[in-house]
Subunit: 380 residues, 4 copies
């Protein structure tokens, strides 16, 4: 079919801008969609860097001020890959300009900042999405489908962690390009960066969280600042542990850290129900573990499913059974689903409103870590 | 060498009595020890059952009252495999009678009950031990040795869980033989039964815990009682989640449950330090996972060590490299170490005093689950 | 830099045409190369199918006769994704026309057919390549680099297998589109299809093979023909087992089958040297297993390396540590290396001549299976 | 019940004598049997060593000449743990003396030597057994039961290997105590030592082997002799690779070596049928891998069964679900089954006749390695 062009204006050209750009460039070869993304413009403060990125990825033009980008008539969709503290103002301006708005996660630094973003896109009636990409790893999507089918029975436990080790060295600096260690820019440390992924998936799979208790820790208290050149207090959380109670009565256990030596991107999750359990590990992303208590007794075991068959989510668009996908495919799938939703006139999650809930849980966790009390996300 | 006989009086003849008896019978064939256990007497309320056990295992005599057993002159060591609520009175009586006292874990139902036990054995000056057997799985012992060597550098994280699934069915009853579901007998549910294992090992490997926050849950609220035949409230915790702060500044995360479908005895633990990490899983008990950041960059990985070489703890007493041991060997090793300590005049842990600390952490966790506050074990 | 356009003419539009096209489209975004592939033309017998493919992937034009394609002045490179029996005539014509020639593996149906292809490209002096893509899975490339460094010491064993299960059903037909079951088109069954992958990698990693003994089996003797509609004898090998002696004195063991229930694309390989061993599994493609005997005794183990660091082959072009790649990346890497070789004026393997050796070993294996004798590839 | 005493006379006191003695000492505590083994006598050439062994294990007496042992009236069962070259003469003498005869594997050095052993026990009508212990690892027994039930459908493939690395160093000597490197004593190298295990299990699970082709290699050609002190030619096979055709039409692939760096006792096996597959690994001995094609498509996977439930073979005699057994349990199970067979008047395998078939396959493999031809075991 003849495709409708959807002209993308991308803000930022870092790591996430690459994963999104790859999705825009690849999606049409693998999915039959009404809309075809067109790489119209990329925006960055430093023109040289932005132009290099534009050339590498084939963006047709370059801007150095996101306000100019948002104001352009030839842009249909604004995609925000700028640091967290910029999400709100860009998203709100884009919504007010009637653009489709996508933003890299987390939605914002905190609930107070996020709420007006939700209001803005809903008031403007524009399609919106937060790129919590792990929902669209095929094994995760399939896991969610199984849970949604009710095959697990009553749910008792959900646990997830996201472990890294890249900030253990005292030599890692904060500020400047390392904005993930700067709470003024990032909002928080691992809670908004890593735990937010765990929470988005958990809420999607297992429903809302009613209360939490938590601890955070900053293991290295002072680091050299890229901005001032001096040693300054570290303001982010290096690690977070949380216990949660879900609305369905199940217990949740969560952990994120950048101090788990040996783990680079150890995102694992598991859900236990009365009849069956499921588990997934990003380090083995094309497989799903499945335990079904209904199997005949002595043959029961944890089944390692290769989620690479045409019957599995998204896989009919790719290769043949047994041949695995990689990390970036999750972004292509996110985009494909979003574009299908756009054609169907249906909002595809995680919307800004969905992501607001994740932000509320993050805030409740950070609050609990400060107060030592159980806290409720609904009050964030 | 000519061995000195050590005459054992065993209280109880259930599952744990079998693992202990096997240790008494096997230890001398595999370890060269001064002391040789002699199966002198087994005690059980029902003479027929006790006699059947005595015949199966070769105990020389049978008692039906533990007080009689404790009073016998031809018994050197009392080993308690009776339900938890009996530990204190038997142990104290045995200590007062000058016997060596061993007890299956946990030490007692709670701290209040445990403290006099510690005082009794210390006042009597008798050797004592609690059978927290997992310390003597060779891979766990080796893990502890590596941590104790300082090879991990500063410790950031410790996490452990013990997951089972055997009480999910509503058909499981409480009371009668099922005393593990009866808090009057057991003291608590999974906290004292399963989490206590995780905590004993954690305290041994990573030092003391200063504070905890926790949640417990009883998923099935009423069960038929074996004692009354009626449906009654379940008084134990089915699941427990806890966050801990260790004295060394590291964060701990713990979970135990009998509602994790697919897990029969999923005891796993992991410790992360600045320089290296270690992990172990009871489901793969002869291996240890080791990540050493000092390895040359691109060759770094999680190394799966087969802890079956003569250089590994206990292994020179067994077979040849590559041939794994089983669960019950941990009891044989516990006994071998205890007997070696007896010869050397050194107390080998976990002593009653060591186990008291575990009980204090359990109590702080249960208290936190009730109060919703952070609690300190030292105040238990 | 300004890139030189390299105009691609692709023959075929099946599964492999998709993997190659994806490589042509993606390589320039991830690798800084002098040459930039341009999707100039795709060729297929049925115009409609070819046009659909051209639209999906962005090919500028369509041909229905490969001779016309080869004759076009605006094509620099011919890439052959047609069935095996067409490789020779297309490749030879393309070479004679002075085109760069790439072909999907295997080079040809047999040595007799392959030899003139090698002569043609070498006589014409055109760059050439056979797409044995598994060499460029980063973990495999890294494995080869380690072996080439001599770190394994004297090599004793090499073993590899490639197991599938897709032809077990009697309902699978032969002929028509299922040309892989038709020896007239494919040349052989699993030997040329799957074992050839194992052999290409083996020869690259461990050097030449001097002799082989082998068995083949056709488990289902008759299948319905798509061409005649009748049940006809199956002429391909369903499974092959081979023992090999390498030139370096090591022993090789190889197996390929389409009758290993539960395996979709189980390509595994392992090499054992005096000092160290390495193993890899396509089902876990981003990891490499490494055992180094020089490690201190009790800490020795099989290390599972996540081949996702910037220091690992190709990875600096992708994401961040811990985030895995998929199957199709091996084609992008193959193309990137080929294009870099083109710039440097160096032939990058596997060339037609390299692939001829693989074909010779395949032929020796098939001959041995027929004669029951040891056979030498050099005599093929 | 009152047990009948079965008085054991053990020949040898090395590694295998320990595993057998442990079985004799433990079997009665875990299995309810009519017969109770009594450790009557152990025989060794050096009295001091034999007496030390007797004391360690509780043997009532010591002999230094096996002929004397065989001649004693107070011995019911002769168990041979002497080096291979002594098996035949001791076994034949024991059979002629009317003793039950058990021998460590392999049955003998070769078929010529083994055949009279079979004749002797069958003529004497005495119960007999060869300790191929791996049949009685619960997961292996269960695997065999599943195959025997027909659940796999038509069998296509069987593969097994047994890999070690302990003779790689040139410093390993031959002769003296290292009789496994001395073909005059051992009969062969890895073929009779390791491959024999793989073959015994294979024949038991998958039926008879009709023909084989094979290669052997001696990587280190000369070693110092413990007997002469001089460097002498190594006469054993260091490694063996074999392709087999089973009577049921399936293909077999086998490998054993002592030169696979990183592998201590890597015995793995896998069987593929039309409907299902099974795999097992000694390094993870309490688990079984099971793939069932009849499972609903997208949920199909390799299920890792923890063979620790009461429903699994032998497990009701041990602990509780999730708690694994070790290597030596396979010997206890072998003995328990043998003693049950004795009570029932039924021969339990592997009998001498069963083991003769394994020896014939070994001989055919060694012959093929010498001739370069396919060879048939039935002609050995």
């Amino acid at each position: 079919m003849a495709r409708k062009q959807l002209r993308v204006g991308l803000v930022g050209h870092g790591f996430m801008a690459r994963t999104h750009s790859n999705a825009y460039k690849s999606v049409s070869q693998f999915f039959d969609l009404e809309y075809e993304p067109v790489l119209q413009a990329v925006c960055g403060r430093h023109r040289d860097d932005a132009e290099a990125f534009a050339q590498q990825w084939g963006y047709a033009s370059v801007e150095t001020d996101w306000k100019t980008l948002v104001g352009r008539d030839d842009i249909d969709l604004i995609d925000i890959c700028a640091p967290n503290h910029l999400h709100a103002r860009i998203a709100i301006a884009a919504a007010e300009a009637g653009k489709i708005v996508l933003t890299e996660k987390p939605l914002a630094r905190n609930t107070a900042e996020a709420r007006p973003m939700v209001e803005a896109v809903e008031k403007a009636g524009v399609a919106n999405l937060v790129w919590y990409n792990y929902r669209r790893i095929p094994a995760v999507t399939y896991l969610r489908n199984i849970v949604a089918s009710g095959a697990l029975g009553r749910i008792f436990h959900y646990r997830a962690n996201f472990l890294q080790d890249w900030t253990i060295s005292q030599d890692v600096t904060q500020g400047g390009g390392n904005w993930r260690l700067d709470s003024a820019v990032a909002g928080s440390g691992v809670t908004g960066d890593l735990l937010a992924h765990c929470l988005d998936t958990a809420l999607w799979i297992n429903g809302s969280i009613s209360s939490v208790t938590a601890a955070t820790e900053t293991f290295i208290k002072e680091r050299k600042s890229e901005d001032t050149g001096k040693s300054e207090s570290v303001t982010i959380d290096d690690a977070v542990e949380a216990i949660a109670r879900f609305g369905n009565g199940s217990l949740g256990l969560f952990e994120s850290t950048r101090y788990a030596r040996g783990h680079k991107a150890a995102y694992t999750l598991e859900i236990n129900g009365a009849e069956a359990s499921l588990a997934w590990d990003l380090d083995d992303l094309n497989h799903l573990l499945w335990f079904d208590h209904r199997v005949d007794g002595p043959l029961r075991g944890w089944s390692r499913i290769s989620v690479t068959d045409a019957e599995h989510p998204y896989l009919s668009h790719w290769w043949v059974p047994g041949l695995g996908l990689g990390y970036e495919h999750s972004f292509i799938h996110t985009l494909a689903d979003f574009l299908e939703g756009l054609s169907a006139g249906e909002q595809v999650g995680p919307t800004f409103r969905d992501a607001l809930e994740t932000t509320q849980v993050c805030d409740a966790i950070l609050k609990s870590a400060a107060t030592g009390q159980w806290e409720s996300p609904s009050e964030s």
